[in-house]
């Protein structure tokens, strides 16, 4: 397997008889954003726990930055940043206190907490207790916390779940900035639109296995169908939907017939979403 920043080789973990992660292999290159998609219980969190040294694999090997995670937990954890889905900040402390405390754990003495707070749109709120923050503010602070050590690898678990569009956009921008800096981002999400927008590649995980791993474009090419969606007006004045599948030998004639025989009100092209592709591969949705 090609050496990457994150390398999983036949990684396996089970809880009793239940196999959570079933011998998965993949790698993520430096500066790449990998979207890790899958429904609840697919094994995403267990995989992240093994990659971040929280769980020892029961089979296979995880390598980060060239180090075996299980054998070099402390070193690996010094170079990663993790943002959890569930808020886990010290709420009785201020944002600045939270950031400085975590910076001390990483041995970072020159943290510019205020600058970091500006990046996550929390300027001026740094001295307030975190308990007084909204969900979106807490989530942005969690992202800021994951960056205190300028990590080379960032694990983000549902970083925009339940956030308003402004907060989500702010977090997406930070993810892209970090990629620009050269950091590798492992993005776990249910949100296929977000994964599509941000990820260089996406991995679909289902029942402990990776069932597809490629760029969003290639996956759409391989598994999706492109179509023209039209709204036509019938004789009775009602609006009805029409669909013309693209990329088939019959497509040109079908488009011609649509315009010749129907009164087309609106028309637009439509690509398959990652969710459509996930469903077509696994037979189940991402939100299950």
């Amino acid at each position: 397997m090609t050496q990457g920043t994150i390398v999983a080789e036949r990684l396996m973990y089970s809880y009793g008889n239940l196999i959570a992660v079933d011998g998965i292999s993949f790698n993520v290159a430096e500066g790449e954003i990998l979207g890790f998609l899958g429904p609840n219980g697919a094994g995403k969190t267990t995989t992240v726990k093994m990659l971040t040294g929280q769980l020892k694999p029961k089979g296979g090997k995880a390598t980060l930055l060239g180090m075996d995670v299980a054998k070099n937990v402390d070193k690996v954890q010094g170079d990663i940043g993790v943002c959890f889905e569930v808020t886990n900040l010290y709420e009785q402390m201020s944002a600045v206190e939270n950031l400085r405390f975590f910076a001390r754990l990483f041995g970072v003495h020159s943290l510019d907490a205020e600058a970091l707070l500006v990046r996550v749109d929390l300027a001026g709120r740094g001295k307030d207790r975190v308990a007084t923050y909204s969900k979106g503010m807490k989530q942005r602070l969690m992202v800021a916390r994951s960056l205190v050590n300028r990590p080379r690898v960032i694990f983000l678990d549902e970083p925009t779940a339940g956030l308003d569009p402004t907060s989500s956009e702010s977090i997406r921008n930070i993810i892209l900035e970090e990629r620009e800096r050269g950091a590798t981002v492992f993005l776990t999400t249910h949100d296929m639109l977000e994964a599509d927008k941000l990820s260089d590649r996406v991995a679909f995980m289902n029942q402990g296995k990776i069932v597809a791993l490629d760029t969003p474009h290639n996956l759409k090419q391989q598994y999706g169908k492109r179509a023209l969606k039209a709204k036509v007006s019938t004789e009775s004045g009602k609006l009805e939907d029409r669909e013309v599948i693209l990329d088939t030998p019959e497509t040109p004639e079908a488009i011609h017939e649509l315009f010749a025989q129907e009164k087309v009100v609106t028309i637009h092209s439509e690509e398959a979403t990652l969710e459509d592709i996930f469903i077509s591969i696994t037979g189940r949705g991402l939100q299950e």
Partner: protein
């Protein structure tokens, strides 16, 4: 072990501890409150039995007994005697009949009335009754047919009984230590419940460093408070090193207990619910010191017994290393056992 990480964790824990108003107030007010309690308690013990006496005719034998642990005060009437007993001036009131001497001479049995307040202990009643019988024997010239030989084994503490406030010292010190158990347990429990522990365990913090830092926080809070208290109330004037070592071992003991409570608790109320019964059990040996004879042999099965007993014997009876070394060995054993159980229980819950 990375000391930079441990220092950061301890500083954070202490900061969070004092940001919790409940534990901050309990810690500061508690320390002041216990010191005030100590100083308002009597600093000496009245060893005399104060007895009221109504005696139209004074018995010579009774006059001889005055001063032998008895403070006999004569009153003018039987009504005044009863009033004195009710108001608590005397533990007992003795009323002699006016014809008592004639009764002795004619070999009749004069009736002597003895009045007690309702809360006088049974043993005091027995002592007064025995005293009156002896008095009667002496008065009629029939000395007891035995000689009693008294010998005190060990130091004779007559006249140097331990004042109630000094007897309370171990109880107050252990109360201070124990309250910190709840604070520590709450701190750890919240770390788990709020999942901040997960955030710590993906940084260079190891599980070993995390538990070690929690241990230092718990031991520091408990030890500093109890040592400060003992220093202020004069509890470390004699053998300060033994007292400090004992308090340190006590602080380690309650830190282990704190770990166990934290592994059971799910938030503040849950910590209180699990913690209070455990603390009450740990208080029992201290109550045993307060009320001698109240606790029997089983109390030695409670780990805090060895803490309380050592502090009590060293601070109140001047015991030295030679007298209490076994207590300290047992205490170290309990420390190790409880710390191990606590850490295992926490590991099971967190990892």
């Amino acid at each position: 072990m990375n000391w930079r990480i441990i220092r950061a964790l301890v500083a954070k824990d202490l900061s969070l501890f004092f940001k919790n108003r409940f534990f901050a107030i309990v810690t500061v007010i508690g320390l002041i409150f216990y010191i005030v309690i100590y100083f308002v308690m009597p600093k000496s013990v009245n060893e005399n039995l104060e007895i009221g006496l109504y005696a139209p005719v004074m018995l010579p034998a009774l006059e001889q007994m005055q001063g032998e642990g008895l403070e006999i005060e004569r009153v003018e009437s039987e009504d005044m005697l009863k009033e004195g007993v009710i108001e608590g001036h005397y533990v007992a009131g003795i009323a002699l009949p006016a014809d008592i001497m004639e009764g002795f001479v004619s070999a009749q049995k004069p009736v002597i009335s003895v009045y007690f307040a309702s809360d006088v202990p049974e043993e005091t009643k027995d002592a007064v009754e025995v005293m009156i019988r002896e008095l009667a024997y002496q008065q009629v010239g029939q000395a007891l047919a035995i000689e009693v030989s008294e010998e005190i084994i060990g130091p004779d503490l007559a006249g140097m009984q331990i004042p109630p406030r000094d007897r309370m010292r171990p109880l107050l010190a252990i109360m201070l230590i124990m309250v910190e158990t709840l604070g520590l347990a709450n701190l750890i429990s919240e770390e788990i419940e709020r999942r901040t522990i997960n955030a710590l365990l993906v940084t260079p913090v190891s599980v070993k460093e995390l538990f070690f830092a929690k241990g230092i926080t718990g031991v520091s809070l408990a030890f500093i408070q109890s040592a400060l208290f003992m220093a202020i109330v004069g509890g470390i004037n004699h053998e300060p090193l033994i007292i400090l070592v004992t308090l340190l071992l006590g602080a380690i003991l309650v830190t282990g207990v704190g770990f166990i409570i934290a592994s059971l608790g799910r938030g503040f109320m849950s910590v209180l619910i699990w913690g209070m019964p455990i603390l009450i059990i740990l208080f029992i040996p201290a109550f045993g010191v307060m009320v001698p004879g109240a606790a029997t042999g089983w109390v030695k099965a409670i780990p805090s017994y060895y803490l309380v007993d050592t502090v009590h014997r060293v601070a109140n009876f001047g015991a030295g290393w030679g007298n209490i070394w076994l207590n300290l060995v047992v205490l170290v054993g309990f420390d190790l056992a409880l710390a191990w159980i606590g850490i295992m229980a926490l590991r099971r819950r967190t990892l």
